[in-house]
Symmetry: D3
Subunit: 291 residues, 6 copies
């Protein structure tokens, strides 16, 4: 049973009409959505995420999906009995591990996302940062092996797919000058891609409600914060560990011209539609100087 | 208060998601909507009509509005004390009367429709069939004066405006080879324009619920009928007088390749959204061989 | 009998050849012509104006016509017995009056100009400043009602029609943020449109011979004047009342990059052809810094 | 003194206006003009020819000039003391002779035509049938050496120059599969090019008044003839020797879809303007099935 | 040491010049290369294959790579202890097996090919038949599970990447109407893609020298054969088992308009360059009616 | 016998593969090659030059050929018994002499180059600086007559031919504002064209090995020099007379943004292929600030 069955069609029609100002605001603009491994819950959540992305595309938003897949990588490494050392919390990634990382991201997580979206039609095209050397990296630290830091983004393949009215779904993998694959932080990749595309918005789907002024005090959830105050909050040490790279990525994207960055709870149903097309302000919005 | 205020945002979001298959069906296709003088009710109805048109545009439908304005013309002729003779129900239109017809359609009805739509942004562009000689006519009957029958349609100005992502709003006025303006039937004009544009759908907004098998018996409302059966119904004499030109126009458009024609009640709130984006089948749908 | 009948075809051919340097000068450039209510004389003058516009189009000039219609508005207000108060010479424009202004400009003057041009083919497309919110205004003075001052021009619809090889004919009506129509000064509208289009020339067709240094002394007609001297002449108080808004509009357009502005007598036969394609310098030319 | 000086500017303006229907007829269409060696008279005639071509270009005609240069070739062969044998009236063309033919056509006649046109601006671009292998030939008769018969035309370079708003001026030289240059009949070349471009008109400028039913009886000049009757006239033997290839070329072009072919006297002043832009019908017009 | 080091640069230069006619033949045309799991030998072979593809791209060939990965799939199934049943030689593919198939093809084989090509620059973009629902399949046999038969190809994403001057590398995976992934025969996929793109050539890189009239008699290698004779050879039962699907795929592609199909030994160094750019005819060429 | 016959096809294939990095470097970039009268040796050299140009075109270089023809001009002047005075080494060029210059360059040298290139297909299009007034000049010195100095370059016709994938071959002739032809230095013309096109490279084919630090001491051949040092070398007086205009032209081109200029020996076989596609560094390379 669809939701529409629960209300009179006349109500549904009026609700659609109410979405006009929200749709107008982003028509023809680019939005980058980071879909995280942790935010990927059950199949039903994935189905709703996919339909949200399709609706955003249908109302004229140039939407780009970037994803990582930490938990899935852990699962396969486990299954194959490969153990990883960690240095400062980062996984030491040798060639064999990188192979599993790549197989998981481009061979499992990415095609599943593409398939979920394409249930609705010819929309999603799967890519990784290695395609046409989209995400060029340098090694972050020689001790870490194939862990890369993004040094440049060439967004022309992404743009070509957007221009054809489709949805690029990008696995967070980078490539060095010799063409070798690297593990990269997908949060950072999403921010770098948003900056390179001149996106209007960057949205992080996470498994928390947003940014807290005083984590984990739930009443301290920040609904809107300027880039200036976000920097101060980071400096204060109040931001939870898992949230730090997201906030740093938001700041980088905003500094590079993205107008707004959002951290929202990806486990909520249709959270993207709520954020984009209703009066409901959800999660945390960080506003940059270009907003 | 918007409709959304009446339901939880979460419900609104789910309703939007439910519209995906309907939106996909018409994205990138052309739809011609005839907005009749009689269907133009109070200001609120006009506002809802305008927002429906904007939403159709926003979700990627190339929407064209064609209108007449019989009641408004009567009003101004009255006010100026100009009396019209009629032959077989058609108004004898001398030069002075034609002047009032044109002033009413292109100077009053058309800009009001344009204004109602443009409350939402830079969407509507007003035109008449005289612009770039879009609708070329011949005199229907020498006794009727400036009453024209369409002999050709040049849709390139309409198409240019659609290609720019805007909404052409077209007053039903024709022009002869010498450039003189003629009064034409707006129902016929809508069908001719739909045919020339290769539209997927032609929708008549009227002030009745649809086509009746046995007018005015309300239980005889036809919800779907083939072009073949519609021709038989016409021949049977059962179609009400006011409905005859609409049904004939539908048949002509369907024969010229339009896939579906609809006759719906323009007085219902958001009737276009109901028809296009919900499960609710309303009014009468006539299907052609191209459907 | 055409003019050509009066001379040998060989002379006609040589005259055409003589026009080459004049045609070359403006091929591919944009020219805005303000056609005023007062300059609109008898039908014969209108026919000649229309054929001049068509010839300009045929030789590759992107020509835009802007018009007002003061006398015609007065006529209809009179006929309907509506009286207007005036403050500082400007008509107080309530909703009813604005309705008549709009009906007259977009329902009468505009389609007649379009029809006169389209006698020659598929050239003219009628528009008003309300189409796609082309001319956005603010109220000039709360006491005056719907009298607007232009705050921005979006010329993309005009440009689209020019790019299609057609002639936009624009009624001088503006629109506020809520989509309401306003009466605006057509001289100012023409200048604002010329500036927004980066026009090479702006030509005012009036019912006087041009600008006088010492109005109404006919021997003081100015044939060429710089923007600097035009400003001084305005400051000196020597410019006639009716001419002041035209001269001010010229100065604004020239300051915004238009190269030359002309004030010529629209009652002269083929005055535009004389001005553009013969050695005859007519009326007054004001040259800006971009000339 | 220009012609315009001899008449009042007002008369000149009216004459320009009279040209509108003629200009409209050919705007955007392609016309091929064969400018013959014999039609090239004094410098003054060349100057007028050049200005006619420029005016045609300025009013939107896609005009192509094709030329030969028989008399000029004779002059240089003479000057260098090279004697030519003739078989059936055709010059036996050995390598040395072909060298002079090419030097004369592409090194002398072509650049002089280009220069005459470019006095008016950046219009003419000189080409020969050897450029991008535009005119591919086979040897006509082994005894004749480098005398070619056209077997195919690739008009894309010509079309590119027309699309850029310029005037291709083409020397009548062909090229075989090995890239060797051949002498070809420029009348035939003009017809083949007109056919390949889908030209509306093909005009031969010659040094006679047109086609005669009974050459050289001047009263038998044909002003208009169908392709059917032209074939009969050719078969009757009444066509003068020099005129035969022109009439045959006209017939070939008309059969290939060119609408009208004209044979006119290139020595008359502004003969192209007379033909294209005045009521004066001159020379002979042959009409094909596509007219 | 490069090969060039072994010969004088002057010889190298002359060899490049000798390649001109071969380069000309395929410039601007589309070629599909099937790179098989068995043909993928050591890293050095892969490096040479990649550089051949890049050279083909650089000289203007629109080159598409299609690949399978049978041996690699076997390796991972083995490693994970997943056993497959076979029916008539085809692997029964349940959901778990399909997951490994997809991980291997899109997560391992495909990115390695992309990486090998991108050593030379921004060329390769990895895709699978699931992207934008490029390869739509139906289940081949319900007993086989996720083994699909191609029912339609939508090549627009491939074409877009070719138009951008890049090299699509496509994993042989299909998708049904519900978006589920299927295992497909990569030989068939290559043929279907070649047909959909209107390719000039389809090349199979295998691990045999070509097609044998009397396998495994080496002297019976066929260097050229018509589609007609290839059909007869298939019917005769002389074609080796592994070669049957390749020959059938060739026939299907040729029937659909591909001009030539080649079966060559992918283990030879620079086999594509030999085939495309030297006089050396290698392997087996099958010519269709369009050749 | 081709060079490839002399080596195994496998070697040829490997040599092609070795050219990849060289081809990549210039793909899509513009290169101007000056082909000098003196560098034009026997037919075999011309054939090789032509095939080099075709190969450069085939691998995606936008290649432009500029040529003079001093020796050929001398030959024809001699043959016609026309004597030229010289002032400061420059030929006094009266109208008759200019006629021979133009006939030689555009009627003899240019079509022979075009023909040599077009042996390979539809590649070369012959032009001169008079076409569409590409090279506008002023008289260099009134005593020299028609000897011009370039004052502006309009490269749009060249660019149009490059964009169509063809090779413009340009005779070094200029044109003044009145459309008269002038003799110009082809070295300077090549540099001016390279600058106007924003070329990556400018190559002079001469009949010496390159630039010498101490001419004619062969051991003093300079293989690479900066623009700074080239200026000093010029000032030192060590540069041979014939080389001075080439070096000056190189410096001008480099100052205008060309990245590298080369002076190489045009008599060497396939010198362009050696220079562009092998490791062999030949002649002299001058590097500018943009390199």
């Amino acid at each position: 049973m669809t939701a529409t069955d629960a209300v009179a069609p006349a109500v549904a029609a009026r609700l659609l009409a109410d979405a006009i100002p929200y749709i107008r605001e982003f028509a023809g603009r680019t939005v980058v959505v980071k879909y995280g491994g942790n935010a990927m819950g059950d199949d039903e959540t994935a189905r709703r995420f996919a339909s949200d992305i399709v609706l955003m595309r249908l109302v004229g938003i140039d939407v780009v999906v970037v994803h990582g897949g930490g938990p899935q990588i852990d699962h396969y490494l486990d299954q194959l009995g490969i153990e990883s050392e960690r240095i400062d919390g980062l996984r030491v990634t040798d060639e064999q591990t990188m192979d599993i990382v790549r197989m998981t991201l481009t061979g499992k997580v990415n095609p599943e996302l593409v398939a979920a979206i394409n249930v609705h039609g010819r929309y999603a095209v799967g890519l990784s940062g290695a395609d046409a050397r989209m995400l060029v990296v340098e090694p972050l630290d020689p001790r870490l092996g194939f862990v890369g830091e993004i040094v440049s983004v060439d967004p022309h393949v992404i743009q070509g797919i957007l221009d054809a009215g489709e949805v690029p779904v990008i696995a967070g993998i980078g490539v060095d000058d010799a063409g070798r694959a690297y593990n990269i932080n997908a949060d950072t990749a999403a921010a770098a891609i948003a900056a390179a595309l001149g996106a209007a918005k960057l949205v992080y789907l996470t498994n928390v409600a947003g940014l807290y002024r005083d984590f984990p005090d739930e009443s301290s959830l920040v609904s809107e914060i300027s880039i200036h105050d976000a920097r101060k909050l980071l400096a204060s040490g109040a931001v939870g560990t898992g949230m730090i790279p997201k906030v740093e990525s938001c700041i980088q994207a905003l500094e590079a011209g993205v107008e707004r960055a959002h951290i929202v709870d990806g486990r909520r149903d249709h959270v993207l539609l709520l954020e984009f097309f209703t009066r409901e302000g959800i999660g945390t919005m960080i506003t940059g100087p270009a907003a």
